[in-house]
Subunit: 567 residues, 2 copies
């Protein structure tokens, strides 16, 4: 270490910035560390905003306090971490040759120039707004800053808004949808594309839609916002692409974010094709003295090897920690990349994903894949098990798992974390199929949902099972295609709940003695299912062995059927 | 496939046996499959027995039914799976030369000889009983069979037993302890060794003891059962090794199981050093036509490469599935081995583990290890987060993670599953430290408990932090060793709760201005902590930078302190 203290400047005080600064401090007590934050608050728990807005908790301090209850203000940063935090201060210029950052204290207009040995850019991202008329109207919000959260919480507490629209059917859109619905506001989510939550397979997305509607909120897909409509400067409704007008007093726009790269770009730092600051595995920009992390950067996908944007709070913290190490000991730490993992709660459903779905895999050039959709309980029925529905994706040639989505009222979070780690470890289906997971009835089935998922996918990869998705079967039925559909459940189950898609009820236990009821033409398509399609699979094996050649299993069975059912 | 149907005989109808038989059936509709089961029931959900005994559910059928509510009796096996199941039938002899199995129908005494092409041995295990006087007394139970569960449930329902002892402080012992306690029975767990739950580090085991006592059950360690005491043939108490007598009307013995290998041994099959049937990765015994799985076999540890016994229901199912495949297509499937993963619920605590603890690692010859104990919340406090306390173990030379234990009222199950998969993938600490896990406030902290655990362990491996366990600090204090202890929390936290071990209160935010209060001798041992010891670590870094050379952090802080505290 030189006798001169190392000068570190960090731009951005939300997640990545403070983490980099604090880690650097722990590694070098004598460095001079300055944090520049445009907003008034520091280290806000941004991901908690929807829960504050929704009234899950009322103490706003929880969003800006340490677990011990100390507000993370400049005094705290100074005392506990010996970091100088300049709040309400905007960094306006980086001079890389002179190694200085110029910043302005916004309330006073005072300008300072700070010199640095090493610089961190963690400028975050800005919510996008659709390029349509009326975005200036009062009543149109986003949920990015603590100020945004305060405004929405005030609307909730005032209790005057009756109808709201959420523009954008992604993670944050649905978190806000739930928050507003909990506040008694009639809420409609508007999604421009055909399907909500683009990281989900369509069948799963459809099941989430059902849950949202069941709870009383509404969803409109395949129809974007054409204009915000107002009266006296106040929002009064939205007009959709198809001309429909929806009255509402509140709109929350959640159509994604744009990385804040203006400062970096003006400083001549390289910007990637996706619009984020380009960094290497050390989180170093094209200037080795300048690091960047968080929502403003592009990082690397461990699955495709390609650059991706992944504006998630956990990654910002991880990247900040890597930078903190490299600030003090250059090249001592790496951020290996991401596995595209995320999760959100939407009413009683957990919706999680890791890796790529089939569509994303194909779009990334990984086209030789196999997928499987399964349904089942998270823990035994006698312990109060709840439903999980998931789709797993593997590369056919290698068997490598490349994606998993899991939804439902059951504990999807654990299953997604498990598969995320399997993907990170590069596990193949056979390895996952034999994994030794913690089993006891309060926590899982003897064969956990992810294990069963791997088993069925392995069966498909080995050609032991041919599957059909609910989406495919629905298309088959709607097109009037000839197929022989068998429900292999018991008469009692059939009486309680049934699809009503022209199926024949032949319980698996009776199938072998009722083969004469099946099509004489052994090449006719036969589709089997049960509640989860395990019995459907057993029955399919028996039919194949008896000469039928075109036998398929409706994946996920009755539990994963997203369309209206007869009963 | 030959024109003659393949003859498969499976001995054992609990978990591995039925799974092997059912999987074989799905792969070969025409094989002749016979299942021999000594008990009256088939495919019982054995791991659910404690919850049935404890009254978590009342419908006994749930233990022997399919999820669709069909009892898994011989009729079900015949109809749904075309498997002949012979219940109440004991296999008495295997003639490997003739390829036959002789069995006796127990109620009638009738004997049959079945010939096989391939044989599966899944004979399970038998609960051990301590070799002490009095084991014949009425009132001494185990919990292995459905009959055992029925008997204990009847005792619960009768409501007459007031006092019970559990002999053995392992997983099943504590599951039964909770079940009996829920039934209003005053229960004491007796453990011969010094510590309960031998897969746990001592500090964690101590915290579990505290939880059990807090709930009102008792634990005695370091004291085995010397004799069961009786009156008129009925259990009246137990006498311990140290002479203490405990009155009780019920004793449940849960001191482990012995693999049932007599049949295999008599047939000349190789038995391993640990007493289980020896199998290869195909789950094949020393006779290639004979497979074995479940509680009666030894399998391989993926961590040590050595043979281990792992009598868990999930593994029995996985192994059964591998056998099912190999029965039909020899050498088509392998069981790679285990990662020593398990879990149980003990009152409000979840107790999970994967891999080896430090003691087990050293006993297996992996002695150059580093461990870390941390504490924290599973999800943010504002979302109702609950405490987790864990210990992670890594190999120092490679950084490979080899063990993790996690306990507490928080969601330990997810964390154990996550690390189990990391261990299976052979991940090193740096990979786990940067893992992309599903983050949203209802499911985890921005940096999940396992990530933080990896971070702190990485810090220790890099020499950035020196830790001290609560056990070590307690020994230090009890021995009167001179050390300077600093609680770095706030005065308010100190007022609410404190250890009272001679500590000085110096909040981390004041430390840098109060260095003059620290020992002048810079080599004196200084031990720091806070609630979870994050601030303790920050403070330690500051002290080291200011010249103190012997600075340590109390790992896990106040939350993980297992001893009585002042307040």
């Amino acid at each position: 270490m030189s006798s001169q203290p190392l000068k570190i400047v960090v731009i951005g005080g939300s997640a990545a910035g403070p983490k980099a600064a604090a880690k650097a401090r722990r590694l070098d007590e004598h460095a001079a560390i300055t944090l520049i934050q445009k907003e008034a608050d520091l280290s806000m728990a941004s991901c908690g905003f929807p829960y504050y807005v929704g009234g899950v908790f009322d103490d706003r301090n929880q969003l800006i306090c340490t677990p011990a209850g100390i507000v993370r203000d400049p005094n705290f940063f100074q005392k506990a971490k010996a970091i100088e935090a300049l709040v309400e201060t905007e960094a306006t210029h980086i001079d890389r040759a002179a190694k200085t950052v110029t910043c302005t204290h916004l309330p006073s207009g005072e300008t300072r120039t700070l010199s640095y040995d090493r610089l961190v850019i963690a400028t975050g991202a800005t919510p996008l707004r659709p390029p349509v008329p009326g975005t200036e109207l009062d009543g149109i919000h986003t949920l990015q800053s603590l100020g945004d959260a305060d405004a929405l919480r005030a609307i909730r507490d005032a209790g005057k808004v009756r109808k709201a629209v959420i523009v954008g059917g992604g993670l944050i859109g649905f978190e806000v949808c739930e928050a507003l619905h909990l506040a008694g506001i009639q809420t409609t989510v508007i999604e421009k594309t055909d399907s909500i939550l683009p990281f989900l397979d369509r069948q799963l997305a459809h099941l989430v839609e059902n849950e949202v509607r069941r709870q009383g909120a509404d969803i409109i897909t395949g129809n974007g916002v054409a204009a915000f409509l107002g009266e006296d400067g106040k929002l009064a409704g939205v007009k959709l692409d198809n001309g429909t007008e929806l009255p509402c007093e509140l709109a929350v726009v959640a159509v994604g974010v744009r990385p804040n790269v203006a400062l970096a770009e003006a400083a001549g730092l390289e910007i990637g094709a996706l619009g984020g600051i380009k960094v290497n595995a050390r989180m170093q920009t094209s200037d080795p003295a300048v690091y960047a992390a968080g929502d403003c950067v592009e990082c690397r996908s461990l699955i495709t090897g390609e650059a991706v944007r992944a504006p998630y709070g956990d990654l910002a913290n991880l990247q900040g920690r890597v930078i903190g190490q490299n600030l003090i000991e250059p090249d001592s730490a790496s951020f290996p990349g991401i596995t595209h993992t995320g999760i959100c709660k939407v009413f009683d459903y957990t919706i999680g994903f890791t890796g790529l779905n089939a569509e994303q895999a194909r779009a990334s050039g990984i086209s030789d894949i196999e997928t499987v959709t399964i349904s089942g309980l998270d823990i035994p029925g006698y312990m109060g098990g709840k439903v999980l529905i998931s789709q797993m994706v593997a590369e056919r040639a290698t068997g490598r798992i490349i994606g998993f989505q899991c939804i439902g009222p059951g504990d999807a979070s654990k299953r997604v974390a498990t598969v995320a780690m399997a993907i990170r470890g590069g596990l193949g289906i056979e390895e996952l199929a034999n994994a030794d997971l913690p089993y006891a009835p309060p926590y899982s089935l003897a064969l956990d949902h992810v294990i069963v998922s791997a088993h069925v996918l392995e069966n498909k990869l080995k050609g032991l099972m041919r599957g059909l998705s609910a989406v495919e079967l629905k298309e088959r039925i709607d097109s009037g295609a000839e197929c022989f559909i068998i429900d292999t459940r018991t008469p009692q189950e059939y009486e309680e709940e049934r699809l009503g898609i022209g199926e024949h009820l032949i319980p698996v236990g009776a199938l072998r003695s009722r083969l004469d009821e099946l099509p004489a033409d052994k090449s006719q398509e036969i589709i089997l299912y049960c509640k989860v399609s395990m019995r459907g699979y057993e029955a399919a094996a028996a039919l194949k062995a008896n000469g039928w050649t075109n036998v398929k299993v409706l994946e996920g069975g009755v539990l994963a059927w997203p369309y209206p059912r007869e009963k």
